[in-house]
Structures are given as C-alpha cells and as structure tokens.
C-alpha cells in the first residue's frame, strides 16, 4: 500500500506546531499502525530528518502508552482497539491519514505526538487506592467474599489502561470516564467501602484542578474507549459524588 500521512509536528511544549505531509510506500496490510510509523521514521532518519516522536511501549494494547488521534478518532477507526492494535488492513491503498496527538489542556504536548498525561497520575494519587498497609498482615483473602457480579463489574472498570482516549475524544476534554472507572472499581468492592466518600470527593476535586472539561454525557468516551469502559461507571461516580457531597461534614 502507498499512503499519504498528515502528521502533527511540534518541536516542544511551548512551540507552535503544524501539520506536515509525508509519503510512505510498500506498506503491508498485516503491519500494525505503529510498524507503519516505524517505517516512516526509518525513512526520515535515513534522509537526515527528524523522526516523529510518539509514545508506545507494550504494543499489545495493555500499557496505555500509545495515543494517536487518527483520521479524527482517538486510536483510529476501529472499536475496542488501541493505536498499537490497529492494523493497516483497516486502510486502503492511496488513503490519506491524519495523525494528531491527544489534544487537551490537561495533556500538554511534549513533542510531536507525545503528550504529558501525568495529570492522570495525580488524580489517582488524590485517592485512587485503598489505604491498606503493605505489611501482609491482612486477613485471609477468602475472608472477604465478594459477590461474583460485583467482582466482575469491578474488574471491568479496573481494566482501564489510562490511555486518555476518553479525554482526547470528548468534545469537552472531560476525564470523567477515566476517573469514574477507578471510583467504580473501589466502590463496588467491600475493601473500598470505608473511604468511598473521601475518595470520590478528592479525586473529582483533583480532576477539576487539572483543567479537564465537564462531562455533558455525549457518550463519545465510551464509544472510543479501547477497553469498553461503560458509561454506567460515570453514573455510579455521579451517585457516589452526590451521596458524598450530601453526607460529608
């Protein structure tokens, strides 16, 4: 396949970027999207040009590092797929592909397609944990039975990879899906119960501080989330938040 790529180039955080056009040829449909990017970078390096910086690590859809906005969609056109899992067979010979970084005030660009998502870490630091000592002097694991249904739902919420596609795709750059996934996971488990009020209040406060937008329930995040994190989690977080706001002292 031969392709035309329009890629966002930005030398650094405080520099103004712009779209540049590149051509790649002989791309196999079995290549992954990032392998196609490798081919481009190989070509750029050999031509003495600056390769395109982009984030990636596991290349199997689990680390959450890859983050490209491809043809107007976070992680590209396929559902339930991270950028690294996208394969070139989803495109046609002669296509023009637009590639941009996640765009949000809370995700400043580091270089080209690479953005800084440490705001997500700070939200988790605000309360996305159970305050248990790492001593191992806990009770036996089976002393805390958890109804399978809740365990499964908590697991589904916990599969969030923290990629930020939800923010990238949201017209408001809202981080609600990400935050609600963690709040839900811990709200669904007895282990998370003692801190549930404080947790949701703190995490939401931090989320707002980071400069994410507000959720208006467009539902785009759920559609684009590579892990299928459900909007039910956002509703659950709204519930938790209302409850905590009303009951907190």
């Amino acid at each position: 396949m031969n392709l035309t790529l329009k890629i966002w180039r930005q030398a650094g955080p405080s520099v103004i970027g712009k779209m540049e056009t590149y051509k790649v040829s002989d791309i196999s449909p079995d290549m992954s999207f990032l392998e196609m990017m490798d081919v481009l970078n190989d070509q750029l390096i050999r031509d003495g040009k600056d390769p395109v910086a982009f984030d990636h690590d596991c290349r199997e859809g689990i680390c959450g590092m890859c983050s490209m906005y491809i043809n107007g969609q976070a992680h590209g056109p396929n559902r339930g797929t991270t950028t690294c899992q996208l394969h070139m067979r989803s495109f046609k010979d002669g296509d023009t592909i637009y590639i941009e970084p996640w765009r949000a005030a809370a995700f400043p660009v580091i270089k080209d397609l690479s953005v800084d998502r440490s705001s997500f870490d700070r939200i988790i630091q605000a309360g996305g944990y159970v305050s248990v000592n790492t001593s191992g002097n806990t009770q036996d694991a089976n002393a805390i039975p958890v109804p399978k249904e809740n365990a499964d739902k908590a697991f589904d919420a916990a599969t969030c990879i923290g990629c930020g596609a939800c923010v990238a795709t949201c017209t408001n750059s809202s981080a609600m899906l990400f935050v609600s996934a963690k709040v839900s996971q811990l709200a669904l488990l007895p282990q998370g119960d003692p801190e549930r009020e404080l947790r949701v209040l703190r995490m939401v406060e931090q989320m707002d501080k980071e400069g994410f937008g507000n959720c208006s329930n467009t539902g785009a995040c759920e559609v684009e989330c590579p892990k299928g994190i459900s909007l039910e989690n956002i509703a659950r977080m709204n519930r938790e938040y209302l409850r905590a706001s009303v009951t907190s002292e």
Partner: protein, 667 residues
C-alpha cells in the same frame, strides 16, 4: 572484589526465613527518616518495594522510563499468579510449590530462596485482595484458581487474561498513596544511566530526564534495581519496546556480577512472526493450555494443503492430527513446562510439519474445550439434547468469559477468529531467568546495590514456571527486601544525606554525557533499529531455543563485528537536550550488544542442557535435555573485565539438601 557469599541463613529449610527475620538488624523508625533509597523501576517488583519502604518510613525516589509508573511491563502479564493457598484442597502446600519450582527450574536455583518465595506466596494474595485487586471469583464469592504448566494442582489466581495489569495497578495504587503523602518522589520519563559507587558502596545513580534531556545526579544510601528482564536482546520478544537490560548492564559494568545470562525462556504459545517489519511478538497466555490442545497434521500432504489454503484446519479429521504433547508426555500433556513445550514445537516444525507459510507455527485448538463446556453449560441451563450449534454457542461463551481478551487480541493481530478455527502459535522469547547475581538478602555483590524481580537471577533456575514471575516480583517487593535491606542500612543511620557534589558523581556524569555525545556525533547512516534487528537475528539463530558450540562461537565474533559497525555507522538524529527516543534506543541497543555477547559466552561455558538452555550436544536419545549435575550444579556469576567475552566466571555451588536431583520427567 568481594567473593560470592550467598548469605543463606542457618537452620532447616522451613525455619530459615523466620530465623533470618528474627535475627536481622533493624533500623529504628526515627532513623529511617534519615535514609534515602532509590528504586529503579516501577513494575511489580519496584512499585511494591517503593510503597513498602515508604510505608516503613524511608525516603524513596522511584524512577521509570515510561510516562507513568503504571505502564511498566508487568502490566502485560496475562495468565496469573501462583500462591500455595490450597483453596482448591487439591493437596497444594508450601513444600509442593517449592518443589515444583525447583524441579521446573531444572535444579539450577537456590533452595532457600525458592522456599522463602513459596512461604510468602500466600501473603501476596491476601495483600492484593486487601488492596482491591479484582481477582476472578466463583459464584460463592470466593477466589477462583486455574492450572499452569509443570504442576498438577490448581494454584494460580487470575483476573481474566489481565492478571499482571490488575496486580500492577494494585501496587501502583499503593505507590500512589505514598507519593501523595510525599514519602515517594516519583520520576517518570527518567532513565537510569549509571550507578555511582563511593568507596565500593553504591550511593546513587545518574539519570536522564527523557523530556528535557537533562542529566541528573541522585544520591541515596541504597539503590534497588527493579528494571525488568533483558529479553529484548533478541529484538523480537514478548517484552515491551522499551524493556531493556541497560540498568542491570550498567551495574554489571560497575562490578555487579551477572548470573546465568544464557538462561532465557522461550514461551511456546506466541503469535508467529508474520513479516520482516515485525516489531514485537505477542504472547498467548499459558493459561490457554488449560483448555487448548496443541497439534500439527500427521501427514505432510495435509500440512501442504493447510499451508496453501486449500484445506481449513478445523476440517482435518481427528485421526489425522498429531497431538504431539499428549503423545509424548501423557501425564502432563499440554501442560508440560514451557521449555519442553517450546522444543517440542520446534522439533515438529524442523521436521516440516509447521502449519503456516513460514513453516514456523503449530495449532492451539479450542474446539474440544468449547464443546465440552457447551455440554456442561447446556446441562446447567437445563437444555435437553442440545444441538451442535447450541453447544458451540454456549461453549464459546464460557471460553469468552475465561480468555475473552486474549482471543480478541489474537483476532486483532491475525484477522482470524479463534473460536472457529485453531490459533496458530510458535515459541518466542519471553522471560530471562538470568540477571544480576544477588544473595539471600537480594543484594548484589556491590554493597548497597540490590536487584529484585526479573532483573535478578534468584528464583527460577534454568526455567521459570508460569505465573511465578508475578509472585516473585511481589514477594521481593512487599515481603523480602523491606526487611533484608535493614541488615545493610543499619550501618548508615549516621551517614547523613549523600552528597552528590563529589568526584565520583562527577566522573559518572561525565561518562554518561560523553557517551551521549558519542552517539550523536557518530556520522553514520544506519538507524539504531536495524542494528537491533541484526543482533536479534544472531541471538535467535545461535543462542535461542537450541545452541551448539560452533554456533555460539561464531555468534560471539559476529556480535563483536556488529558492535564495531554500530559505533562506526549508527545514525542518531536530534539533540541531547530534548525528548529524543532514538537516542534512548541507541544506548539500550549498545548495551544489548555487550550483554548478548556475554549470554553466548555463558551458553558456551555451560556444557549441559538444562531448562531453557538446550545445547544440542547434550541431549538424551529421546531428545530431552541432558543435565550434568556433577559439573554444572552451580550459578555462573560473571564479572565484567572490559570485554564481555573475557568476563571472569565465579561459581556459586548449588547445594540441594531437601530435594533429590532427578532427570525431569513430565511423561
């Protein structure tokens, strides 16, 4: 340089750890506030250690090269984590887990370490559950288990095919909690470039801020490396693109011994290579061998037909299939250990029975499991005389619940639906048992420098059993090193903060900067990846699943030549003071080229076959690995001398007091 003292405590196997904990020196809580610890790596081993140290009161600085500690490659572990809980009441015990691990490792690991691992394994599960890790549960609300290769009990805890993710997020949350308290300072997008020794003790590191390119000095009273494995020396592996051996290699260059570097694990069930452009390989969890059956056609004509697409594998008659693992190893069947399964696949493919175009693939087939589950499910749901289609459907649902995400992953990569047609799989590099040599306290031979998790060599001998790496990482981080570090730090309570304005730090910093300059100024033409690919090819062909003397010797000289070419011809674009992924890669590949050479040297030295190390010269008549316990029951710990091929060998003899050394048999 110090001699090898493994510091194994006195007493019977079952008492060693308890005795040791009772007699180990402690640092009092007030003094812990004056002690700094650096942890390089935030995978299971690093995050858990960082959180635990901080909790105990030490000041911690943690480093990772990813943009968040949550993205360490532990996140990708799929299948599960072992623990001797005996919840299934199938006869499991600490001893049995110990024994399975020693045997699985082909008797090349330390008894005392392995026993301790088995002892603390149960605690790990308690800890993780308390943190809110959502393990799989049964309808009664209790924890569920599955089986992994090389064992006859069900002791593996799991969270679908995302166990590593859930465990790491648990450790990450514990770490986050300490970061918010200010007890851990987290350095994301930072790469450790070197360790700094002062008077023979490790007192800090040099790190590069990957965003700004700034070179930073960080002092500490102890440094813990939890930097993962070095499987990427093979270029293609199931490791993440950024996984590297550099942290460990830098430590090695500064005096830490590298143990058993040639012990690499080739995992039998990975998605086969599809083309030259391939950048990494994807694992299909070992847990799939609980339900999947591995086969190739019995007849060459069928192989041909399947390769050229004129026959669908699902249509090949039962009697024309060779379920070769079940045939060769009736008692363990598809659940033989990884090294055995990998070699068996290679053997079939070498004989010409490989089922894809490259001839390097075998089938992993779920059809009988789907039907079996479908039938049970039909009974449960009260469907009398279910049709084939109904059973298929219900069975698929059961399989989806167990392995859904793996099947999806497979389908995304290959565009084949594994519910309908068998998966194609082939062995790939997955894990490195070798690593920095450590004593019972997990300290390397360099005082104050520790290694945990996959970066050390400690527990898995010549072959790691499935679901044991996660166990080891968390055991090291939560339950071992928080105690054992006291033994060393007790001497440091009056040292005061480590001054980084010393000649030692200065020299180390300068070396790092010079090396970076060297890469950037090399006026070559060839991108780093190409060298990495070529190195990988050499390693895979000559130091991979099967090795022989001649091949290893030629590998060593090829690597040396490649290294020379690399420094002459590599092209690293960009500047030092910016975000520059190519520069990062250059440093890592340069280190791999030295490490690879040492691996070949080690493989050449070990004139036996054991576990993942298979020397063609040493095999039984049936083609099984032939160990030589008389001459090689030792840990090979290599000392850096300037040239990897001329590294100096130190031997730690392995003493087996509690198990009898036997030819491993899974028949």
């Amino acid at each position: 340089m110090a001699t090898l003292n493994s510091r194994i405590p006195e007493g019977s196997l079952g008492e060693k750890w308890t005795n040791h904990k009772n007699s180990i020196r402690l640092v009092n809580p007030a003094n812990k506030r004056n002690i700094d610890i650096i942890i390089v790596g935030t995978g299971l081993a690093g995050s858990s250690a960082a959180a635990s140290f901080a909790e105990m009161g030490y000041n911690v600085k943690a480093f990772c090269f990813q943009d968040s500690p949550r993205r360490a490659h532990s996140i990708a572990a799929q299948g599960g984590i072992n623990a001797a809980k005996n919840y299934q009441n199938d006869g499991d015990s600490t001893y049995r887990l110990f024994y399975d691990t020693i045997k699985g490792g082909d008797y090349r690991s330390r008894e005392a370490n392995v026993y301790r691992l088995a002892e603390v394994s149960a605690n790990i599960i308690d800890q993780c559950v308390a943190q809110g890790v959502p393990f799989a549960r049964d309808y009664g609300g209790l924890l569920d288990n599955r089986s992994f290769g090389g064992v006859l009990v069900s002791r593996t805890f799991y969270a679908k095919g995302q166990t590593g993710q859930q465990l790491l997020l648990g450790a990450y949350s514990a770490l986050s909690r300490q970061i918010s308290k200010g007890k851990v300072q987290m350095y994301n997008r930072h790469e450790m470039m070197d360790v700094v020794l002062v008077d023979g003790q490790c007192r800090g590191i040099i790190a590069r801020n990957l965003v700004t390119g700034e070179i930073e000095r960080h002092g500490a009273h102890a440094v813990v490396l939890a930097s993962g494995g070095y499987g990427n020396v093979f270029y293609l592996s199931t490791n993440a693109m950024g996984s590297n051996g550099s942290a460990a290699w830098k430590a090695h260059r500064k005096g830490a011994y590298f143990a058993n570097p040639c012990f690499t694990q080739i995992h039998p069930t990975c998605i086969p290579v599809s083309g030259d452009y391939q950048s990494k390989l994807t694992l299909m969890s070992e847990s799939l061998r609980n339900d999947g059956r591995i086969w190739v056609p019995k007849k060459k004509e069928h192989v041909e037909a399947i390769r050229n697409g004129s026959m669908r594998p699902e249509n090949l008659a039962e009697e024309d299939r060779d379920y070769y693992l079940e045939r060769r190893y009736p008692s363990f069947g598809n659940l033989v250990p990884r090294d055995v399964a990998s070699r068996a696949a290679k053997e079939r493919c070498d004989e010409g029975f490989g089922v894809n175009k490259t001839g390097e693939a075998v089938f992993l087939d779920f059809s009988s499991a789907i039907m079996r589950y479908g039938k049970t499910e039909a009974n449960v749901q009260g469907v009398k005389n279910p049709s084939e289609a109904q059973m298929q459907k219900m069975g698929e649902d059961v399989v989806r619940a167990k392995y859904g995400n793996l099947f999806e992953m497979y389908e995304k990569i290959t565009d084949d639906n594994p519910y309908q047609t068998p998966m194609k799989i082939y062995p790939a590099v997955h894990y490195t048992m070798g690593g920095l040599w450590v004593d019972y306290n997990l300290m390397t031979n360099v005082p104050g420098l520790y290694a945990t998790g996959e970066s050390n060599f400690s527990d898995h001998g010549a072959n790691r059993l499935g679901a044991s790496a996660l166990m080891q990482g968390l055991a090291d981080g939560y339950f071992v090193i928080p105690y054992t570090v006291g033994e060393y730090l007790a001497d440091d309570i009056r040292t005061g903060p480590i001054n980084t304005n010393t000649p030692e730090f200065e020299v180390a910093e300068k070396e790092v900067k010079d090396r970076i300059k060297g890469f950037l100024n090399s006026n070559g033409k060839t991108p780093v990846d190409e060298f990495h690919r070529r190195l990988g090819r050499i390693m895979w062909d000559k130091c991979g699943m099967a090795r022989n003397e001649q091949g290893l010797k030629s590998a060593i000289s090829e690597i040396q030549a490649l290294r020379e070419e690399f420094y002459r011809d590599v092209k690293v674009p960009g500047r030092a003071e910016e975000f520059n992924p190519e520069l990062e890669k250059a440093g890592r590949v340069a280190d791999f080229m030295e490490l690879g050479e040492l691996m070949c040297r080690d493989a050449l030295e070990r004139n036996e076959s054991c576990g993942g190390h298979f020397r063609e010269e040493y095999q039984t008549e049936e083609g099984e690995a032939l160990r030589d316990d008389e001459n090689y029951a030792y840990v090979a710990a290599w000392e850096y001398t300037g040239m990897p091929a001329e590294a100096k060998l130190h031997k730690e003899e392995l003493v087996f007091e509690n198990v009898e050394l036997k030819q491993r048999s899974y028949k």
